[in-house]
């Protein structure tokens, strides 16, 4: 187990290297830079030279890449083109808000999806089951931004119940968290239902029943305990989903987090920020995937880690 974890941790290094290489190449493949934005007021050549030297873009590209990698190792992600402040600081400003949003959304997703999944497995092929599967399908299928639009229309524009721009009070957080959580939760409902259906047909559940345990004890103590194991696997996809969801939801609701920052940077071609955030996202996802595999191995000893 320990060897496996160490090997997986080491594997993060080459993967991160390639992620950096790909984003770096793409960023340098792209034409133009933010300094040549205004064709009517061209900058004097010496200014361009000075700026280029400041950002290190006068060096040959391979040299830039190696410098960049070296800087990453001591926590320097470069300087934002548009804000003229270190990327680390810019990310630092948004990351708290994004975590707040992500954790809130995840908590909401878990809170509704696990009970819903259990109930629909226990009442398989009844109206309750069909309804909760419909909710789950809507949650996974309807894009977050479309759902957000409907919610903003109903609760923001028509009923004036909730604010839909900004961040801060709990009222601001309700809709973004709901929308972001519904997607992850729909997926989770399906997984919970499937693994619960599998669990209640197992021999140990029959044994528990036949020795006279109450239905409640059978479901909670025997079936659910085992059914929850596969749910651990959702941590990986959920992290990825919350991250990509945050781009759209934060842009839509004007939440000052990393996702909105990312979208703004893309529109402004602020490559240092794009690359910094991409690397951070890739790192988070790899850690999440690793956590899934470890947790899975610990919870279910039948899973052999290779």
């Amino acid at each position: 187990m320990l060897r496996y974890v160490i090997r997986r941790l080491l594997l993060i290094i080459p993967t991160m290297f390639f992620v950096a290489l790909i984003t770096f190449s793409l960023a340098h493949l792209a034409p133009g830079n933010p300094f040549d934005k205004n064709p009517n007021r061209p900058m004097p050549q010496e200014t361009i030279d000075r700026i280029s030297r400041f950002y290190g873009v006068d060096q040959p590209i391979p040299v830039q890449f190696i410098t960049y990698l070296g800087n990453i190792l001591h926590g320097d992600l470069g300087i934002s083109f548009t804000r003229r402040t270190p990327v680390v600081d810019v990310i630092g400003q948004g990351i708290g808000t994004t975590f707040q949003l992500g954790i809130g959304a995840l908590a909401f997703a878990l809170a509704f999806s696990i009970p819903l999944g259990i109930v629909s497995a226990l009442k398989q092929n009844t109206m309750i089951d069909y309804l909760s599967m419909l909710v789950a399908t809507i949650g996974t299928t309807i894009p977050g931004f479309v759902l957000a639009i409907f919610l903003i229309y109903i609760f923001g524009v028509n009923l004036h119940l909730l604010p839909f721009v900004g961040w801060g009070s709990w009222q601001h957080m309700v809709m973004p968290m709901f929308v972001l959580g519904l997607g992850a939760g729909g997926f989770l409902t399906r997984i919970t239902r499937a693994s619960m259906l599998e669990a209640i047909r197992q021999d140990y559940v029959r044994t528990a029943r036949s020795k006279g345990l109450q239905e409640r004890a059978v479901i909670v103590g025997h079936a659910l305990k085992n059914a929850l194991i596969p749910i651990a696997t959702i941590i990986g996809p959920a992290t990825a989903g919350l991250i990509t969801g945050s781009f759209i939801i934060e842009s839509l609701f004007n939440v000052p987090g990393m996702g909105r920052l990312y979208v703004i940077s893309i529109l402004a071609r602020d490559y240092p920020i794009i690359m910094g955030t991409t690397l951070l996202y890739a790192f988070l996802i790899m850690i999440a995937n690793l956590t899934v595999d470890i947790v899975y191995g610990v919870l279910d000893p039948r899973i052999k880690v290779a």
Binding site: L26, P31, T140, P143, V157, L267, R269
Partner: protein, 320 residues
């Protein structure tokens, strides 16, 4: 003599039973799919959307880019019953801020969505099947390569990777081609072929040592024939299901990109572009945003229902 007749009769009866039962795996799957009501509704919706897309120039009352300056921001005709003064029977679903007919734009949008749904997915399927089959059956360097590529691609969330590709190539010739359509194809294909290849590889590995493959090899079939005639039909079911979900996935990607302003270039209408354009005036006149949102939701749901139906039909054991 008498016994011989009965034996023959018995044989005929057996044959009859066999004849009646003769339904292929695919026939069974189709039967199950068509009995699934949600999937059937999905298929009908998709068929209608496809017809609208094909006949958009005939059906649409106006051109998608036609502006009627004086008739901006008309509301759909039914809002008349709720006291709206800004309706006009000439614009059934109203008009946007430039006075373009929303119904016509919605119809033309379905063209882009269906193209985005099918073209990149075909590319993904072609690359993924080829690489996955070879990696699984032949193994070796290609297999190692595939696994390493997968590690990297899996570290990006799909949408993030597409966003990076599309965003960085936006200013190049590739990014400008066909109003930004081509670069979206590329983005979706680059990101998604890996998943299909990985799936196909796994399927091939689980099938390639089975007896029927060995039997084919024993009678002298070459690797190409074995892959095409013996392995391919046996790994098709999960691939079909994956593709069925990849189509709405690709449509979703386009609408998200266009909504964020890095997808299809306005004024070319797509549902995502319409939402993006209408969002500025959303709080005062919501219809230019609500109607395309509704269209995306309905079409994506339809594809998902069909995908779910296909999965249940092809793999009845799966309970997801």
């Amino acid at each position: 003599m008498a016994t011989a007749v009965t034996a023959q009769e018995k044989r005929t009866a057996e044959l009859n039973v066999l004849a009646r039962k003769q339904r292929s795996l695919w026939g069974d799957a189709m039967y199950r799919l068509f009995r699934n009501r949600a999937a059937l509704v999905g298929l009908v919706v998709i068929a209608v959307a496809a017809l609208v897309a094909i006949f958009a120039p005939v059906l649409a009352p106006y051109g998608p880019l036609e502006q009627h300056g004086k008739d901006g921001l008309m509301e759909p005709i039914w809002t008349k019953f709720f006291g709206s003064k800004y309706t006009d029977p000439a614009y059934l679903l109203g008009s946007d801020e430039l006075g373009r007919d929303i119904l016509s734009r919605l119809m033309y949008s379905s063209r882009v969505s269906l193209i985005i749904g099918f073209v990149p997915v075909s590319i993904v399927l072609a690359i993924g099947l080829t690489v996955g089959m070879l990696a699984g059956y032949v193994g070796g360097v290609l297999d190692d390569f595939l696994m390493r590529v997968t590690d990297v691609v899996y570290a990006f969330p799909d949408l993030l990777f597409v966003i990076i590709i599309v965003a960085t190539l936006r200013g190049t010739g590739l990014g400008d081609a066909y109003d930004g359509l081509l670069v979206i194809f590329v983005g979706i294909a680059v990101v998604n072929w890996v998943g299909v290849a990985r799936l196909v590889r796994g399927q091939v590995l689980s099938v390639k040592n089975r007896e029927f493959v060995e039997a084919a090899r024993a009678v002298g079939a070459g690797p190409g024939r074995i892959m095409r005639k013996h392995i391919f039909p046996n790994i098709l079911a999960p691939v079909i299901v994956t593709v069925a979900f990849a189509i709405p996935g690709a449509m979703l990607t386009e609408s998200v990109l266009s909504f964020l302003g890095i997808g299809i270039r306005p004024p070319t209408p797509t549902w995502g572009v319409m939402i993006n354009e209408g969002f500025i005036v959303f709080s005062t006149s919501p219809w230019p945003v609500l109607l395309p949102s509704l269209c995306i939701s309905i079409v994506l749901l339809a594809f998902t229902f069909v995908g779910d139906g296909l999965r249940d039909a092809l793999d009845p054991r799966s309970k997801m």
